[in-house]
Symmetry: none
Subunit: 141 residues, 4 copies
């Protein structure tokens, strides 16, 4: 099952709806497919200059390793030099909660949603809300 633009846009909107209801600070949300291609993205009014890049680097890292970025955060705490080196060679990696893998109901990896702008926990909650609203399975790590 491939990730469609319609599904990706639905995830962006649902993630932002969650953030507005919960009163989060302005977010950037990006959805990549399993290839790492940007399928949909949105940065709310008031986001800082490179907020999109932060959200995307969380998502890129999750996809690079096939793990939700919360798992990467735990691993990076134990082995910081691994992730410093990896950030260089995978061209984008922020090992912090806020990027969740997107799986179809059969468990196949079809993409990733990365969020940045509030606390990492809140970023992740918005990402999960987006994935769940699309009827897909979120894997935060």
């Amino acid at each position: 099952m491939a990730l469609t633009l319609a599904a990706a846009q639905g995830m962006v909107q649902a993630a932002l709806a969650h953030a507005r209801t919960a009163g989060f600070r302005p977010l950037s949300v990006v959805v990549l497919d399993a290839r790492g291609a940007v399928i949909a993205a949105a940065s709310e009014d008031g986001t800082s200059l490179k907020r999109f890049q932060i959200a995307k680097a969380k998502a890129d890292g999750a996809l690079a390793f096939g793990l939700g970025s919360r798992a990467l955060e735990r691993m990076a705490a134990a082995r910081p030099t691994f992730y410093a080196g990896a950030a260089h060679v995978v061209d984008g990696l922020i090992p912090v909660a806020g990027a969740v893998l997107v799986r179809d109901v059969a468990g196949a990896l079809i993409g990733v949603v990365g969020v940045s702008g509030d606390t990492s926990d809140n970023d992740e909650a918005a990402a999960i809300a987006g994935v769940t609203a699309a009827g897909l399975v979120a894997d935060g790590g």
Copy 2:
């Protein structure tokens, strides 16, 4: 006047609606604000792996020089080494039609729309359709 997410999403949707009506090949559309921040983006089903990066590099180049990318295409034909060098130092520049500056009705630059996926002329037509639908002014160069 600042570019809002709502306006940027409206431009993306109108650009894609134009493309579907006109029968263009699958497009990536990206909207940057005047600072170069990614505000909204979409890649249609069937776009190739790096289509987003191509659309964004057209937009980045237009913003880098404050000119619609059709003007950059003319200038690059006359001075290719200038733009080859510039592509490196501005970290993203494709001097080809398809990125149009977005101005408010007073003429102030508020962003840029970059499109890639069909011919450059068609990419530009989709970008202009997006800007116009938002009640803003498109400057293709």
Copy 3:
């Protein structure tokens, strides 16, 4: 249909077998899947220092645009500044014959084979031989 390691290794071996039979100069051959991940690669004895990178950049370019690299070579001759800019933003692009898309029998894109070391025509012939031997469809552009 996903590209397997077994199929990719078969393509590498068949491409090299073609090159040895035909008396080509030493080659690097690389097979990427549809995500752009390196699945299999080989550099023959006597290849120069960066031959692998040249083969990979042909393959990366083909996948970036979804076109065999012979098509990119024609397009780059007409619009060199487009490809100079694209080379920067897609992080790897040599628009020259020698990379062929790999499609399954249903026509789905499942990967790309890039070859470098002899003339571009011979590089492409080796790539096509590799794909064909695997029972897949080569699209040189």
Copy 4:
């Protein structure tokens, strides 16, 4: 003694055979010669998007310093900023076990094998198995 493609391919196959017998997770294995050129590589079915880059960065780091990457891991624990900086300037360095230098029986450095996909200890075990099977000497650091 130069590293041949035949020897490099043998090391890849023996490393993967070890991994399958031992039940490791899917691996990427890359063999570089003493110049840092990619001679052979393989990514098993199910490897994540950037697994090849991780394996290669372990190998690149080992070659950069002439030390198996287990030694680099110890040194990076003591001096993390050294390796964070080095990762940038050598363009690829992950100072973690899993890359072993390849020496001929006279002790001359002829290449390096880098592995990623399971724990670092298991990655290194697969690399050592590959080198040993080729009748060469593995130096893990």
